[in-house]
């Protein structure tokens, strides 16, 4: 299976220049997209579709910091199971519960929900910085995967807030 970073000619690191990633992605799609081969025989169209599919998946993965971190960890043999939360610190489990309660309480208060969302996003940014450090510099994969697992929870929570906001809007 083609590795994502090398597909885009980027060094395999967490720190990434989004603009450079985007340019590289577009360059690849410009070469492989099925639209370039629509008049070609079936076999070529099929191969083009496979490459374009891969480019989309690679771009989607590397663009999103959390997905990128998971990808880097899995390349290093660390698979993260979304379902389990053993090994999470007690403090974080408590924090999880608090957040959940706040979301439930704010369920029909758009402003409170937005505030929660902003707080979460701010915390996530700080943690992603730690992830960058843990993967690119310190190479502490245990810490990185612990952070990623927390971030996964937070992302899920943010999606729930989004859904609650969407309901309020309509």
């Amino acid at each position: 299976m083609q590795e994502y970073f090398s597909l885009f000619g980027l060094p395999e690191r967490f720190a990434i220049d989004p603009a450079q990633l985007e340019v590289a992605y577009r360059n690849v799609q410009a070469q492989v997209h099925p639209d370039r081969f629509a008049h070609r025989p079936e076999a070529e169209r099929r191969v083009a579709m496979q490459w374009a599919t891969l480019a989309n998946e690679a771009f989607r993965t590397l663009k999103n910091p959390l997905a990128r971190a998971r990808y880097l960890l899995s390349r290093r043999g660390v698979e993260i199971d979304a379902e389990r939360n053993n090994g999470m610190s007690h403090a974080f489990l408590m924090q999880q519960m608090e957040w959940r309660e706040s979301v439930e309480e704010a369920a029909d208060d758009a402003e409170a929900l937005q505030r929660l969302e902003r707080d979460l996003a701010r915390d996530e940014r700080v943690m992603l910085d730690d992830v960058k450090h843990a993967i690119d510099e310190e190479v502490d994969l245990v810490q990185a995967s612990e952070l990623v697992r927390r971030l996964m929870f937070m992302e899920k929570l943010r999606r729930e807030i989004d859904e609650a906001l969407a309901l309020l809007e309509n």
């Binding site: 090398s6 597909l7 885009f8 000619g9 450079q20 340019v23 590289a24 577009r26 360059n27 690849v28 799609q29 410009a30 070469q31 492989v32 997209h33 099925p34 639209d35 370039r36 081969f37 629509a38 008049h39 070609r40 025989p41 079936e42 076999a43 070529e44 099929r46 191969v47 083009a48 579709m49 490459w51 374009a52 599919t53 989309n56 998946e57 771009f59 989607r60 989004d162 906001l165 969407a166 809007e169 309509n170």
Partner: protein, 622 residues
């Protein structure tokens, strides 16, 4: 694109010989065909009529059909056999067919795709649509003087898989080679963006006769990237007509009307609706029982009041798309209006109010979709000119998923994923010794399977006996560049495999299409045979030459077995080509193509790898 010059000798497109391709806007109300002639997009007019072909088909006793203006005019005299707005039935079963359509036609429940009873017998919506497409194909061929290489057919962005598949089937049935299904708002954006050289984030609000789409696109340096799309595939001008007809009817009499009169009422409602765009008041001539007509005056204000809820309904998808794209109204540089129904003043003002600015209506909203499709068709057919270097990245409108235990949906590919896209997920058995697994593919956003659209059901059989939880069943979803899904399932430990292209429940089977096409060809004239023979001979020569060349250049990519297989197929086709049986030659061509298919795939893969490597060196900062 120099890096991917894969053209085999004799196949590189001759610059003087443009390959004829068209774009077709297959609308609920109106259909158009457009092409690029002398580098200029142009909508093609029919013989003695304009460029717009009303999407109406009238079936007659002898099985013949009348399509377009004449059928539109026959609506009230032959309402049951004169099918309008058939697009609203595409890919639908009776249960989810539009209520208005159910009242107007004699619909038959066949368990899957709905059928319409006509004097000429039962017809599927796919067949009715293909009649419209056939007229447009003939129009294009007459006007361009030759056969078409292919066509881009537009579909509402919010069409689900079943509706897309039905549209593609209709095109094939009409004898068209479908180069691509293109989303209508994206087509509009192409026409618009290339015309104006626009850059930035644009929204397209497309309210047509039967469907509503809202798409947000980012245009930058020649890339059209759809960020989010949403809509309602049964909301359009037709609904305004129905609301107005109901209101007028109540005002005039409220007494039940027969079929022909209620159709006349609907026709009148549409006239009045359109008239109210230009004047503040209108007198409707409302049919009442017997031969009566009653005049009812309606003001623009009254019309707006009674249809404001429909306008509101369009704003919900607008908000959803903004949210999905994580954008605020202020991030949208401009909103482009497409579709005849956006001529209504209250629609315009609702859009203007929502976005805090006047929407764009520069390009004729009737033509813009067909023109965008023609531009895309021209490029897909291989007529890309030097410097014409734009790229389109579109998305799927609705999430795709599987039914899980308890009737819950498990999303596999989320909506607004850029296509082509593929996702695999592993499942396991829940009973000891379970030998089969039912796979139910659904589309939609809802939690419960029953609230989503069922696309297909199939079964993976022959799983060897294992304890519960022992099997690893990988289900793979692949969505191609047309937005069409195929699903395969494979037991990982034993390799038992099952595959479906998601179509049987609402489309036509390949056999059905082939059968219908054959029936059509049997009536064809002799000279068509001669032409087919000539074409197949030329194609055979080209293919033999290309295969020989490939054998020389890429012998290293082939095993000696494969090489021998190709050589045999070349020899066989060479012999067939001396004869004059065009079907036999066609079979020989197919056989050679099949034996070289794997080689072509490997050559292509190699070429792409080389191209990307070159690319990477360029892109790396030094």
């Amino acid at each position: 694109m120099a890096l991917l010059q894969l053209s085999e000798p004799g196949e590189s497109p001759d610059p003087h010989q443009q390959r004829l391709a068209v774009g077709i806007d297959l609308g609920t109300t109106n259909s158009l065909v457009a092409t690029i002639r002398h580098a200029v997009p142009e909508c093609l007019a029919g013989d003695g009529c304009g460029i717009i072909l009303p999407s109406v088909v009238r079936y007659q006793k002898d099985g013949s059909t009348i399509v377009g203006q004449a059928a539109l005019a026959a609506q009230t005299i032959d309402p049951r056999n004169t099918i309008a707005s058939v697009k609203r039935l595409m890919g639908r079963g009776l249960a989810d067919a539009d209520a208005g359509m159910r009242g107007r036609y004699d619909l038959v429940d066949t368990g899957d795709m709905v059928r319409i009873n006509t004097v000429a017998g039962q017809r599927t919506p796919v067949e009715v649509s293909s009649e419209i497409l056939r007229v447009l194909r003939e129009r294009a061929e007459a006007s361009l003087g030759d056969e078409l290489v292919g066509a881009v057919i537009t579909v509402p962005a919010y069409f689900d898989d079943a509706q897309r598949q039905a549209t593609k089937d209709a095109a094939r049935l009409a004898g068209l080679n479908v180069l691509r299904l293109l989303n209508e708002p994206t087509a509009a954006a192409i026409a618009y963006g290339l015309d104006e050289g626009a850059e930035g984030i644009y929204a397209v609000y497309d309210l047509g006769g039967g469907t509503f789409d809202f798409s947000i696109l980012r245009l930058s340096r020649g890339v059209f990237e759809v960020m989010a799309t949403s809509g309602d595939s049964s909301l359009g001008g037709d609904d305004f007509d129905e609301a107005l007809a109901a209101w007028l009817h109540k005002k005039a009499s409220g007494v039940d009307l027969d079929c022909s009169k209620s159709r006349a009422l609907l026709v009148e409602a549409r006239r009045v609706k359109e008239a109210l765009t230009l004047s503040a008041e209108c007198v409707a001539r409302v049919p009442v029982a017997a031969d009566g007509i009653k005049d009812v005056t309606i003001t623009l204000g009254e019309f707006h009041e009674l249809t404001q809820a429909l306008v509101e309904r369009t704003l919900q998808p607008v908000r959803k798309a903004l949210r999905d794209a994580a954008l605020k109204v202020a991030d949208i540089q401009a909103v482009v209006l497409v579709g005849g129904a956006t001529r209504m003043p209250h629609v315009r003002s609702a859009v203007a109010k929502m976005f805090g600015r006047e929407p764009y209506t520069d390009i004729d909203p009737d033509k813009v979709v067909a023109i965008g499709a023609a531009i895309q068709a021209n490029v897909l057919a291989g007529n890309r000119r030097p410097g014409e270097d734009w790229l389109l990245l579109d998305v799927i409108p609705l999430s795709l998923g599987l039914e899980m235990m308890g009737g819950l949906t498990e999303k596999i590919i989320p909506r607004n994923s850029t296509i082509p896209v593929s996702k695999a997920q592993d499942f396991t058995t829940y009973k000891d010794g379970q030998s089969a697994m039912a796979i139910h593919v659904v589309q939609g956003e809802r939690e419960l399977v029953q609230d989503c659209r069922s696309l297909a059901r199939f079964e993976l059989r022959g799983i060897p006996p294992m304890p519960a939880g022992g099997a690893r069943i990988r289900v793979t979803f692949q969505v191609d560049a047309d937005g069409l899904l195929s699903v395969s399932a494979r037991e990982q430990t034993t390799g038992v495999e099952s595959h479906v292209t998601v179509k049987p429940s609402y489309g036509l089977s390949d056999d059905e299409i082939t059968g219908m096409l054959k029936a059509g060809f049997e009536h064809a004239a002799e000279d068509m045979q001669a032409r087919a023979l000539r074409e197949q001979q030329v194609e055979a020569e080209r293919l033999i030459e290309a295969a020989r060349q490939a054998l020389i250049e890429d012998a290293g990519l082939l095993s000696s077995n494969e090489q021998a297989g190709i050589e045999a197929a070349i020899k066989r086709l060479g012999e067939l080509n001396l004869g004059n049986d065009h079907l036999a030659i066609k079979a020989g061509i197919d056989a050679l193509s099949a034996s070289t298919g794997e080689l072509a795939a490997r050559r292509m893969d190699k070429a792409i790898r080389q191209a990307l490597t070159g690319n990477r060196i360029d892109a790396l900062p030094l």
